[in-house]
Symmetry: C2
Subunit: 218 residues, 2 copies
DNA sequence: TATATAATTTAGGCTAGGCTAAATTATGAA
DNA sequence: TTCATAATTTAGCCTAGCCTAAATTATATA
C-alpha cells in the first residue's frame, strides 16, 4: 500500500531530482518535516523498491517510484488546469487546491477532466503534464536571468508556482506562458531586467527573474 | 481540530438520527469499524462538545456537531450533483467519488461548484442539499411500500444511494426523482407493486420499493 | 424478580507518521 | 592530515485510529 504520505515524498524526491542530487534535508525542508522523519520514510520507500538509498548518500527513485511520482504530478497538474479552465480559479489559487485534491481523485475522475480539457499538455504555469503512461517533457528552460541578452526576444515557457503572491504579480504584468517579450536592458551586476511586453514595459529584479523560464526567439 | 474521521462519525450520527435513536453499534456498522472504536470516538466527540453521550445510552449531536455534519453532507451532495451534471458521471458512480472528495475541497471550491450549478436544492438521488448556513429540508417521505395505494398516482422524490447496482437498475426503469407514476396493482402479503411509468409498466419487489421515497399526487 | 443475552465500555496492543535528543558519518578548511 | 561543523541516522517517545478480549451494564423473558 502506497499511502498519501509516501506519494508526497515520492513526488518531492522526483521534483528535487530534476535539479541535481536529492538530499535528506532538502526533502525534509520541502515537506516541512524533520530530517529524522525523512530518513525514516526513505527507508520505507527503499524497502518497497520505490527508491534506492545508501545511508548518508543521496536518494534516487526506482522506475516504480518515478511512476508513482508522475501519476501524482499528473493528477496535480490536470487538476490545476481544470480548476483554472472550468471553474474560473485564478492561477495563483490552483496550486493549493490541487495539492489537497491530488491524492483523492479516482482514475475515472482523472480521465473525465483530461478529456473535458482535451488532454492538455501543460498546466496554467506552463509545467508539462505527464501522460497516463508516465511520459513527461523533461526539457529544462533557461531562466530570464540567463537568457536572452539585451536586444533579443524571448517567449515565456513556465513560471514557478511556488508562491501565490508572486504569481499574482506576474499575472498582472502579463508574464504568463506563451507571452513574448523583448529584452530592452539588463543592468550590470545582476541588476534588474527591463522588458517590452506588448505595449507595456516591465522591470524585473533578479530574484523574480529566476523563477521565470524562457526560450529565446531567434 | 476536527479530523476527517471525526467528520465521518458526525455525518453518520446525523444520518442515523434522522430515523430514531442512534446506538453505538449502528454507527459502528455503518462505518464498518468495531463498536469499541466507536465508543472511543464518541468519547472524543463529547469532549469536543460536538456530541452528547452518557455511557450505555444513545448519542446525540450538539448544534455544533450538527453544523459540522451538515457541512460535510453539503459537500457530498454538491459534489454528487457536480459530478453528474458537469462531468457526465452516471448517478450510480457519483456516491463513491463524492465520499472520497467531500473532506478535501475548500470553501472556495464549494462555492464555485454551487454557483456553477445554480445553487441546486437536491442531489441526483433527490437528497436535499443543506445550505451554507446549515439549513436542510428534513421532511420525510413515505416509501413506495407505504404509499400510494392501487389506482392512485405518485411522484418519486428520492431514492436510496446506498447501492450502486440498485441505482443502475432503478435508472434503467426510469425511477428517478420527479418521475410520476400510477400504481396499477399491489399484490397482497407485501407482494410486488406494479406501476405505470410513462408508457412502461414496471414491477417492483418490496425490498427495492422500500428504498424509493414518494409523494402521492392528489 | 431473577437471569440469560445483547449492547457497550474498558483495557491493552498495533501501525503510520510525526517529533526531539543523541550518536554517527561526511566534508571542508587549517 | 586533522578536526570542527554540518548532515544524517538511531533511539525513544507521542498521537490518532484501529483492533480483540474481557468486563460491565441494560434489557427482555421466564
Amino acid at each position: 500500500m502506497i499511502s498519501d504520505n509516501m506519494q508526497d515524498y515520492l513526488k518531492t524526491i522526483y521534483k528535487l531530482s530534476q535539479s541535481g542530487e536529492v538530499t535528506t534535508s532538502a526533502v525534509a525542508e520541502q515537506l516541512d518535516v524533520s530530517a529524522a522523519s525523512t530518513t525514516n520514510m526513505i527507508k520505507k520507500l527503499a524497502e518497497l523498491k520505490l527508491a534506492r538509498h545508501t545511508p548518508y548518500q543521496a536518494v534516487e527513485l526506482t522506475p516504480a517510484g518515478r511512476k508513482v511520482a508522475l501519476e501524482v504530478i499528473r493528477h496535480h497538474r490536470l487538476l490545476e488546469t481544470y480548476l483554472s479552465e472550468a471553474l474560473g480559479y485564478s492561477w495563483d489559487q490552483v496550486h493549493a487546491e490541487a495539492e489537497e485534491l491530488e491524492h483523492h481523485i479516482s482514475e475515472a475522475f482523472e480521465d473525465k477532466i483530461a478529456s473535458t480539457l482535451g488532454d492538455p499538455k501543460r498546466d496554467p504555469h506552463g509545467d508539462p503534464i505527464p501522460t497516463r503512461a508516465g511520459v513527461v517533457d523533461e526539457r529544462r528552460h533557461h531562466t530570464l536571468v540567463e537568457q536572452p541578452s539585451a536586444g533579443h526576444a524571448g517567449i515565456v515557457r513556465r513560471v514557478s508556482d511556488a508562491d501565490a503572491e508572486r504569481l499574482r504579480y506576474l499575472g498582472e504584468l502579463g508574464l504568463r506562458p506563451d507571452a513574448t517579450f523583448t529584452v530592452l536592458e539588463r543592468a550590470p551586476f545582476n541588476g534588474p531586467i527591463r522588458l517590452r511586453l506588448g505595449k507595456k514595459e516591465v522591470n524585473i529584479g533578479t530574484e523574480l527573474a529566476q523563477e521565470i523560464f524562457v526560450e529565446p526567439v531567434k
